[in-house]
């Protein structure tokens, strides 16, 4: 296709070749910049963070060593992000399906734009709303949870009287990651070939069966991407968690208690101002841990998707 006949005069073929070269140069440069940025971040975190692993005992605020310091933070990060993803993902896929396959266009359009607008709200605003409005409103619900489901390790007394719990933080995070997951999965749902949808419908599939038969298999890779981007934001979110969560506690699965683990990013934000060289190294080291965790989660998800696809083409 792209090969030019040998007899073509050079002045005719020259412009397209220049265009191709420029385009290929730009694309390659863009690709390399991404890799360089990633490598740069990693190198910075390593150089500045690795000394943080070997500081004096006092610098770890009574946790003995780096592992004892970071494990609570890592736990808080993963727990709040897990709550956020568990709540946001089903909701986001549901909204995306309604917008792409159920609702009539006159309602689907506005709903989609409103969800997109939610993505434009700054995280500080979510933090303010979370601590001033959302957290107090959640207290009665937490009390109810403790009274009725108190036998579960997640809902143990004493209930946090102001609602600044890890569950509140997780729910605020869920609202924050909802738009990105919804927007991406809506796009991939919309891309489903009509041919496959009609194949399912013509076999006598109901709408939900058609979605299971034609839409989900086609969209799976995009759905995983959407969840990964949402999870990435939940893991790294700083301001909202720092504001909402009163985190000073240790590792605990009690989601409504008074002592909650905080997250890595929120901890960096709150500790950064009063840093000494030693604690700064430690904070950067926790950043390195967060970076590696995010990276591994992404790799794992990609690997699962790729394995599924290999299975299909075998």
């Amino acid at each position: 296709m792209s090969s030019t006949p040998l007899t073509a005069p050079p002045q005719e073929s020259a412009p397209t070749q220049t265009g191709d070269r420029v385009f290929s140069g730009i694309s390659r440069a863009a690709g390399l910049v991404i890799l360089a940025a990633l490598a740069g971040v990693f190198i910075f975190l390593s150089i500045e963070g690795i000394p943080g692993l070997f500081q004096d005992e006092g610098a770890y605020k009574g946790n003995g060593n780096f592992l004892g310091y970071v494990d609570t933070l890592l736990f808080g990060t993963v727990l709040s992000a897990t709550i956020a993803v568990l709540v946001a993902v089903p909701l986001a896929f549901g909204i995306a399906l309604v917008v792409s396959h159920y609702a009539p266009t006159w309602i689907a359009g506005p709903v989609a734009s409103i969800i997109d607008l939610l993505a434009a709200v700054p995280s500080v605003v979510f933090g303010l709303w979370g601590i001033n409005v959302f957290a107090p409103k959640m207290v009665p619900i937490y009390v109810w949870l403790e009274e009725n489901l108190g036998f579960l390790p997640f809902f143990k007394a004493p209930v946090n009287p102001v609602g600044t719990t890890i569950l509140t933080a997780g729910l605020v995070l869920a609202i924050m990651i909802l738009p990105i997951i919804t927007a991406i999965s809506r796009e991939v749902f919309n891309q489903t070939p009509v041919l496959h949808e009609e194949a399912a419908l013509a076999l006598g599939a109901t709408r939900w069966e058609m979605i299971r038969l034609a839409v989900f298999p086609y969209a799976r890779s995009g759905m995983v991407s959407a969840v990964m981007l949402g999870l990435g934001r939940a893991l790294g979110e700083t301001m909202a968690v720092a504001m909402v969560l009163s985190g000073a506690g240790g590792i605990s699965f009690n989601l409504i208690g008074t002592s909650n683990p905080t997250s890595i990013a929120a901890n960096i934000a709150s500790q950064y101002k009063e840093n000494t060289p030693a604690t700064l190294h430690i904070l950067i080291a926790t950043g390195l841990v967060l970076f590696i965790v995010t990276f591994l989660v992404n790799f794992a998800a990609r690997w699962i998707v790729a394995r599924n696809e290999r299975k299909l083409t075998r």
Binding site: A200, L203, G204, L213
Partner: protein, 259 residues
């Protein structure tokens, strides 16, 4: 099992636009009925209205009556999903489910109807349907492979196998050979001949020779003018249509003077 279809005064709309106007015809059971006509004359639209696939497109609706063995297709308490389970459809381009194996593709419709199926029952359905679609010998050793790994003609026969696996009463085919090479086309045409003994078959085709080869009766659709709705010009036995049609427009189209 095969059923006849009576259509009276059927108008088909996309929103306010009338696509097909005033169709009357009787499609006989256990026969092949072909629709021919120029592009955009509404023959595919009409075909899709016979299993209510038409209304999948937003704003699309019909007026008039379609009776399948005396039962109205558009009655108030008729579920379009149930209609489509009885009236199967094969599309212009082969559309096996890309993530499913050949085996699972054949069973896709049955899995919708009955959730649990014993392995030997499922095996039997797959073998019977693939044999019915003249595909069994080509794929029996690789039933676990993806349906997309087959050639275009094989994929189309896989889609036919998928459609007949649920034992429909009528089989609608919307230009089933237009994306296929002559050899695959001939395989599908042979198949249509065989299926006729069990099913009522309605086929839309752009290829007049194909209509002449496979069908017992032929309907010719045309537009009165550009922007006007399509209508049924003539409906007759295929033999008469191609030898001595009643309508001069039909003769002009068939002899290649337009279209």
């Amino acid at each position: 099992m095969a059923k006849s279809i009576d259509v009276s005064d059927l108008n088909i709309y996309y929103g306010d636009f009338m696509a097909v106007e005033g169709v009357n015809m009787t499609i006989k059971a256990k026969s092949v009925t072909a629709f021919i006509g120029p592009s955009g004359c509404g023959k595919s639209t009409f075909l899709r209205s016979l299993n209510r696939m038409h209304e999948v497109i937003p704003g699309a609706r019909v007026e008039g009556k379609v009776m399948v063995d005396g039962q109205s297709l558009y009655g108030a308490n008729v579920d379009p999903v149930a209609v489509r389970r009885q009236i199967g459809m094969v599309f212009q381009r082969p559309n096996p489910f890309p993530t499913m194996s050949i085996y699972e593709n054949v069973l896709a419709g049955n899995r919708l109807n009955a959730k649990k199926m014993k392995k030997n029952v499922a095996d039997e359905i797959v073998e019977r349907s693939l044999k019915g679609a003249n595909l069994w010998n080509e794929v029996k050793d690789r039933l676990g492979r993806p349906g997309l790994g087959l050639s275009g003609g094989q994929q189309q026969r896989l889609c036919i196998a998928r459609a007949i696996a649920v034992e429909p009463e009528v089989l609608l085919m919307d230009e089933p050979c237009s994306a296929l090479d002559p050899i695959s086309t001939s395989a599908v045409e042979d198949l249509i001949h065989e299926l006729k003994s069990e099913y009522t078959i309605v086929i839309v085709t752009h290829n007049m020779q194909q209509a002449a080869r496979v069908s017992d009766e032929t309907g010719f659709f045309n537009l009165k003018a550009a922007g006007q709705p399509g209508h049924l010009v003539e409906f007759n036995s295929t033999q008469k249509m191609f030898a001595n049609p009643d309508n001069p427009d039909t003769e002009a189209y068939i002899s290649g003077r337009f279209g």
